[in-house]
């Protein structure tokens, strides 16, 4: 090993003048300093200090290298400062992953706000459903819908923000006509809901229509193609859509805010989490499918 730690001891003694002062400065025992200096002198094969009764005094050789040792110390300090600065600065990269619909239809104003408040943070938004991103360190913060009461995976810290409800939605005009046949609009792997049958004039076709993307499914519902299951915050907010009368509003999970244990203490991450948490508190009613006062148009 190359005795860099001993150089640090050397510098401490050179600056403090005595072994004890150096030991105090480095928060170690003074014996450690004595032996460290001994190892360094042996390795360099050179006396670095005159050991006087009043303390250690630099020899010529020691004087020659004290400035270089200072350069090492300077660089070391800058390393710590740089790492600390990375954590605490409100600039630099910050990756957020969340379901696409949350980004486009719910949190976009919130994110715009955040961007305006901290313009030096390079926010990167990754639309995805998989939790892997966090474990992979592909993202720093993740907003996820957790079914059941799942404990966050290893190394991840999570905060439960609010409930998440879904409902059955259909185009408003289709509802008033009361006679048009409608199709089930499903995602790729979804099955036709078996716990509820539409009534009140809606006649379902036997063949469902499947979509590879959530967005096209949503637009198909707005265009009057049929009935689909949507997050309440999406369906209730769209004037083209109404809940199917008699259909249930079901809790289908909770919204969690997940962070990686390594980065959750950095300022950037905390700022973003606080921002999202505050915003989501305001959205809790919409997320749970509760109709706000004044929005009585729906039922």
């Amino acid at each position: 090993m190359d005795h860099w730690d001993e150089v640090r001891m050397f510098l401490a003694v050179a600056e403090g003048g005595t072994v004890r002062a150096a030991a105090d400065a480095l928060a170690v025992n003074h014996a450690t300093i004595i032996r460290g200096i001994g190892r360094l002198e042996e390795k360099l094969n050179t006396k670095l200090f005159d050991k006087l009764p009043s303390g250690y005094r630099l020899t010529d050789a020691g004087t020659d290298i004290v400035e270089l040792a200072g350069q090492m110390s300077m660089a070391s300090s800058q390393i710590e400062a740089k790492i600390f600065g990375r954590d605490q600065s409100v600039s630099g990269p910050l990756r957020l992953t969340l379901p696409v619909s949350f980004a486009t239809d719910l949190l976009m104003p919130t994110l715009v706000e955040f961007r305006a408040a901290y313009p030096d943070i390079a926010l990167e938004i990754i639309g995805s459903l998989s939790v892997v991103n966090l474990g992979n360190r592909e993202a720093d913060v993740a907003l996820r819908v957790v079914i059941g009461d799942g404990t966050p995976p290893d190394k991840l810290y999570g905060t439960r923000l609010c409930e998440f409800h879904t409902g059955f939605y259909v185009q408003r005009n289709l509802m008033t006509a009361r006679s048009t046949p409608a199709a089930w609009l499903l995602g790729t792997n979804e099955v036709i809901p078996s716990d509820w049958d539409p009534q009140g004039g809606i006649r379902m076709t036997t063949t469902p229509i499947r979509f590879a993307e959530m967005r096209s499914q949503f637009e198909a519902a707005r265009a009057g193609m049929g009935i689909t299951v949507l997050p309440c915050f999406l369906g209730d907010a769209d004037p083209m859509l109404v809940r199917v009368p008699g259909s249930p509003v079901k809790p289908t999970g909770d919204i969690w805010l997940l962070t990686h244990s390594d980065t959750r203490q950095t300022k950037r991450v905390r700022l973003l989490c606080d921002h999202i948490r505050t915003a989501m508190q305001g959205f809790a009613g919409r997320m749970a499918g509760r109709i706000e006062s004044g929005d009585s148009e729906l039922l």
Copy 2:
């Protein structure tokens, strides 16, 4: 303690790309590197490397501090150099780096002489072509072939010793037979010389043969495998080889003797440089490919 040694490990891994390379470079066990990096990451509370199956790759944070770690390493090297430079005794370590062929086939008697004259100097001979060794203080004196008129890099002092010529060589018997097909014998990255075609009965095969090491290339030429470019001092000295008739002898650079500014004034370094310089003066003719009087056997 402040983990300066761990910074050294970090730098070694950053430069080597893998834990094992770093372990080899620092001459420690690879487990030590893994734990050292672990301690450093824990101390800085930041991931410095992505641990991929193919090796360690720097994270953003790691990239931020690799240059500062380099500054520490630089300062550490200069400390060693400064201390070494104070040592005026004719004993102790002294490292010389030069191309392998120069050591084995030209300067070995000179070095034996030097060793006999100063038996207390622990001479270490490092066969290498890279100039980095000096700046890193992996060596104290370097003998190098400099293409063009390169000024020595920062902090290095250089003396131009003599010219350096190369020629085309082939086995003597192959030449007298005048009918045997021969191959181009090339180093790993060399290309077939386009400025000269062998004539006079030598028929070249289309497929060159490549060698990873200079030595095997040389021996292949001696065994009659084909034609190769060699330093004149090598080719002319070997009775098995002759220059290909009609082939040019080209100047391909100059021989420089390089020393580090901090150590060039020490007695050991000056003694070795003087010794080598004197010897190379006697070799100037051979280096330039000039045939000494009495050696008229060749042309």
